[in-house]
């Protein structure tokens, strides 16, 4: 029995203050996520493809864990 994915692809809609970003998931839903301050993630711009890890069962929150390549 497959599990619901918690790591999903998303696109950055807007950068917000305090390392928050508004992103849109592939299913069209939008949410606000934080980014880890790793070098790869220092420059995230609107339009960038990113990988978002959702809080396990709470799909309204999450964090950016990487950029898409």
């Amino acid at each position: 029995m497959p599990e619901e994915a918690i790591v999903v692809n998303a696109r950055v809609i807007a950068g917000l203050p305090n390392a928050l970003y508004r992103v849109e998931l592939e299913d069209g839903s939008r949410l606000q996520v934080t980014a880890h301050a790793t070098a790869e993630l220092l420059r995230i711009l609107p339009g960038d493809g990113v990988v978002v890890e959702l809080m396990s069962r709470d799909t309204t929150r999450g964090r950016i864990v990487g950029k898409r390549d």
């Binding site: 029995m1 999903v8 692809n9």
Partner: protein, 259 residues
């Protein structure tokens, strides 16, 4: 990081996986035109109980049945009911059980009677995707290598892989870390180590990759109603390479009691 299993624990997982795959063999035979999906669920439940195991899906997060049956454009998590199978349908059968606290999980998609050439090709390619994913499971590989192998094979045949559902670690619970996506770049995510157990399960669509979940809260269907197939096996990472846990003891291993 997924829990590494000891050899006695792997033997228990082997027993659970054996029961699941034996039952799937029976169900694959029973999936004939006119049979209801509820009837297949009943057969699965009886076989698992007779084998001294417990169904793993029943009551899992409120799931109401022993078996998941996903017909045609249903991807996964179809709930058994009054629907009768028809000649030409393709039927995903997904089953899990628990033995001595250890889980086994496997799935396959079968044709009912004669199926179209397109359906037959989808089943063949999806089964190949599963084995392509298993083939890279050795210590030192990454979780991303599995998804990459599966995605390459599926997309190479013009199909797409489902993103919303993923394979998973398995052991003393049905879903353990890590998640095992069926797509993505190689060389990423967790490193595989000996003793890890994973359920690898490509879900492959003829059309677009997107799925949506019906009002029952479980059944996932392709948004474009294209056919979808699902194959799954539970494997253990051995120092020598993968062990499909429903297969006989690999790499010259013997049951502990005889050793």
């Amino acid at each position: 990081m997924s829990v590494q299993k000891s050899w006695p624990e792997l033997e228990k997982m082997h027993r659970a996986c054996r029961i699941v795959v034996d039952t799937l063999d029976v169900l694959a035979e029973a999936a004939q035109p006119g049979v209801t999906t509820k009837e297949l669920d009943r057969i699965a439940h009886e076989r698992i109980q007779k084998a001294g195991a417990r169904p793993a899906f029943l009551k899992y997060r409120g799931y109401p049945a022993t078996l998941c049956i996903s017909v045609n454009d249903e991807v996964v998590h179809g709930i058994p009911g009054r629907r009768s199978l028809r000649e030409g349908d393709i039927v995903g059968l997904d089953l899990g059980c628990v033995v001595d606290g250890f889980y086994g999980d496997a799935a396959r998609t079968v044709g009912v009677g004669e199926v179209s050439e397109q359906a037959d090709r989808l089943l063949k390619v999806t089964a190949e995707c599963l084995h392509a994913g298993i083939a890279v499971c050795r210590p030192g590989s990454r979780i991303g290598d599995i998804g990459y192998a599966i995605q390459q094979h599926a997309e190479g045949h013009g199909y797409s892989v489902v993103r919303e559902f993923v394979g998973h670690g398995i052991g003393t619970s049905l879903h353990e870390e890590p998640q095992v996506p069926n797509y993505g770049p190689p060389g990423r995510r967790e490193r595989l180590v000996a003793g890890m157990c994973l359920a690898i399960e490509p879900m492959v669509n003829v059309g677009r990759p997107e799925v949506r979940v019906l009002e029952d809260g479980w059944t996932a269907v392709t948004v474009d109603h294209s056919l979808s197939a699902h194959f799954e096996l539970s494997i253990a990472v051995m120092p020598e390479g993968p062990w499909v846990l429903s297969e006989p003891y690999p790499y010259g291993r013997q049951p502990e009691s005889h050793a």
